[in-house]
């Protein structure tokens, strides 16, 4: 890969689309599997030699990040859109209206926001960070990364980590099963390892909730279904114990946590029936996650002492509150993204001055060495220690002289490539191109 970062004309480019801009039907056709992405990056390398590229493809976005010389074909947005269309066998005209094109600093800002989950469908979701890492690894293996994309993706991971640790954007849970287990059931029980979990019915939501409960340590799980054979089948699939529906009352009396998702039209457990069951529970707390619509448990059961009953609506409201809580953290998260973007851009601009600084240092060092040689010839009695002291003094003097222009260059880099200063240095010290 040709190094382009040091060039003063390096350009960053992004073409792609996300759930915000590209319809699902087109997104499905545009998406790349890992193998397809590796193949595409190989084609990119051949089609745009000397340019860098990383391809990020998830179920919600397909984005091609490229870096190179602006006059090269790769850094023309139209070429990149055509490349994407060719890779997926799509007509360019279909992509043109929905594909976003972003350049330079905006690319960095966008990537940092994406890595932090700020552009995700579920704000702050953490999976995107892993997908960004995967995309980066894939590009590295395909040999399409260079110093600029490497620096940008590493900075993106750092920005995402800062957003995670310094804000609450990704902290509160937003899915019903995760909220049910982490925010409610875990607030009642210290551990699930010694608790008895009862699954009534086995809808998709119940099995997902059971997954979270298993992760939290639940071991003793009973599955209860109206059809005995179905209960046995479900129990085998969920590594649980089957029970007959006729034993509902005794199972409820023994349970600590109930997840209910039957398709019944009427409540499966009435208030009167539960009162009778409650008398056999010896006051033990019971958490009921009633995920069925219509509800399986009479809502008045939740008013009984030591019964914590949550319906889908209750949990959805909690999820919504958590989502709003995440939204409130957005300004803080965006401030971090902005700060990291400016820092990265300043570093990038500063790196463009490296050749001039090297030339300057080399020139001064050469002159210094020549003067030292002349001095040592005229003072032949100097010992090795004295010579070393004088040499160090020269080096310190050169470093101190060089310090102010370096500070000025770094300072100027914060507001863009310091072309003016670099040109001035070249002319003042007669440095070559």
């Amino acid at each position: 890969m040709t190094t382009t970062a040091a060039s003063t004309t390096t350009t960053l480019m992004l073409v792609g689309g996300s759930h915000r801009t590209v319809p699902l039907e087109l997104r499905e056709r545009l998406a790349f599997s890992s193998e397809q992405a590796a193949l595409a990056l190989g084609q990119f390398r051949d089609r745009f030699p000397g340019c860098e590229a990383v391809l990020l493809s998830t179920c919600n976005r397909v984005e091609l990040y490229a870096a190179g010389e602006p006059e090269s074909a790769a850094l023309e947005a139209a070429s990149l859109v055509t490349f994407l269309a060719d890779c997926r066998g799509l007509e360019t005209t279909r992509l043109e209206p929905v594909i976003s094109r972003v350049q330079d600093e905006a690319v960095v800002r966008h990537l940092f926001g994406v890595a932090a989950g700020l552009d995700s469908m579920v704000l702050g979701e953490p999976q995107i960070l892993g997908q960004v890492k995967q995309a980066w690894t894939l590009a590295r293996e395909a040999g399409t990364v260079g110093p600029l994309t490497a620096g940008m993706f590493q900075a993106a991971l750092r920005a995402a980590k800062r957003v995670t640790t310094e804000t609450g954007v990704g902290r509160e849970r937003t899915s019903i099963p995760s909220v049910a287990v982490a925010d409610f059931a875990a607030a009642v029980f210290e551990t699930f390892a010694d608790k008895r979990v009862l699954l009534i019915g086995a809808g998709k939501m119940a099995t997902e909730t059971l997954r979270y409960l298993r992760e939290a340590g639940a071991r003793d799980v009973t599955v209860l279904n109206r059809t005995a054979s179905r209960a046995v089948e479900l129990a085998a699939r969920l590594a649980a114990r089957p029970a007959a529906f006729a034993d509902l009352a005794s199972e409820l009396a023994a349970a600590d946590l109930v997840v209910s998702t039957t398709g019944a039209d009427e409540p499966v457990v009435s208030l009167a029936a539960f009162r009778e069951i409650a008398s056999r529970r010896q006051g033990r707390p019971l958490v009921v996650l009633d995920l069925a619509v219509p509800r399986d448990f009479d809502p008045r059961i939740g008013d009984l002492p030591n019964v914590w009953l949550y319906s889908v609506d209750d949990l959805a409201a909690a999820c919504d509150a958590n989502r709003k809580s995440r939204q409130r953290e957005m300004p803080a998260a965006l401030a971090i993204i902005e700060e990291e973007t400016l820092r990265f851009m300043a570093d990038m601009h500063h790196r463009t001055t490296a050749p001039v600084i090297e030339q300057l240092k080399a020139g001064w060092s050469e002159t210094g060495e020549a003067e030292l040689e002349r001095l040592f010839r005229r003072l032949p009695d100097l010992g090795e220690t004295e010579q070393a002291e004088i040499r160090q003094a020269f080096e310190r003097y050169a470093a101190k002289l060089l310090h102010p222009p370096l500070v000025s260059l770094r300072s100027e880099s914060r507001s863009g490539p310091p072309h003016g200063l670099v040109d001035a240095l070249k002319r003042l010290f007669q440095l070559g191109e």
Partner: protein
């Protein structure tokens, strides 16, 4: 001990560690307002600095008192505050996301405040080794039951807040994540039991100590009708009754809620018990007529 060290130790005042605890409390309160990556470090840093200053202060007083070390009411309130501050630090390090300091630190600061108004003259009692041993035992038991009451009340308050949040079906408030009801209930039951039995033992040991003093004809013995004995008796009865009710309710649906309220009210009763000690004079603590807060002079608040 060299002069510099002596000057340093004698320069540590109550304000030093009270200010550190107050900053730690401010950090705890700020959890409710904003997130910060460095807050935990600042909070633990100030709490640790406060605890260190607190330890040195008590150590200096113990080393320089002429009578029974740390036997004055003021010292014993400070010792109680030290135990609670150490407990706070341990709990915070073990459970960094639980804002236990919001509950414990105000009590620590309150005790430090009470100590500044309490007499700081060490007990002239307990001249012989038997009396002194009983005195230490009596004081240690007082510390145990008071710490247990405070921890139980904190757990009870947390239980009520957590249960209220679960009943309202609201997700946890930012920076205000409470332990589970199960864990809090366990702490409440254990601390109520410990408080009841330690208070009873403290009462009995105080009676024995007084009987020893009385048999020797010591002028410092407390009259059997002294209000300090009545006051402690009432406290013991309350704590034993609270524990008995909590035990009886344990397998009832409202059992944990009742226990939580009993734990919180026990702290209020203890606060009243301390205030009573300040208000009514007693002979407890020596041959001179002193305020009953000097009950602490023998090892009991």
């Amino acid at each position: 001990m060299n002069v510099i060290m002596t000057t340093f130790l004698s320069g540590i005042s109550v304000v030093c560690f009270a200010a550190s605890y107050a900053v730690a409390l401010g950090c705890e309160a700020s959890r409710l307002l904003f997130r910060s990556g460095v807050r935990s470090m600042v909070m633990v840093g100030f709490a640790s600095a406060g605890l260190l200053a607190h330890t040195l202060y008590l150590g200096w007083r113990a080393a320089t008192e002429s009578a029974v070390p740390l036997s004055s009411p003021a010292d014993l309130y400070l010792l109680l505050a030290w135990l609670l501050a150490a407990g706070y630090l341990w709990l915070t390090l073990a459970n960094p996301r639980t804002p236990v300091g919001l509950f414990l630190l105000p009590i620590v600061l309150g005790l430090v405040g009470v100590a500044t108004f309490a007499p700081d003259v060490p007990s002239p009692l307990l001249q012989d080794s038997t009396s002194r041993a009983w005195g230490w035992f009596h004081a240690a038991l007082h510390l145990v039951w008071t710490v247990a009451v405070v921890l139980g009340a904190v757990a009870g308050a947390m239980w009520l807040i957590q249960a209220g949040r679960l009943a309202r079906k609201r997700p946890p408030t930012r920076g205000f994540r409470m332990p589970s009801l199960e864990r809090l209930a366990l702490v409440m039951h254990r601390t109520l039991a410990i408080a009841a039995w330690a208070a009873a033992a403290a009462f009995v040991s105080g009676i024995i100590l007084n009987a020893i003093q009385y048999r020797r004809g010591a002028a410092e013995s407390v009259p059997w009708t002294d209000l300090v004995i009545v006051r402690m008796g009432i406290m013991v009865i309350w704590l034993i009754a609270a524990d008995a009710v909590a035990l009886a309710m344990r397998r009832r649906p409202r059992g944990d809620r009742v226990t939580a309220w009993l734990a919180v009210v026990s702290l209020l009763v203890m606060v009243g018990w301390i205030a009573w000690g300040f208000a009514i004079p007693s002979r407890h603590g020596g041959g001179v007529m002193v305020r009953p807060a000097e009950a602490l002079a023998e090892g009991g608040p």
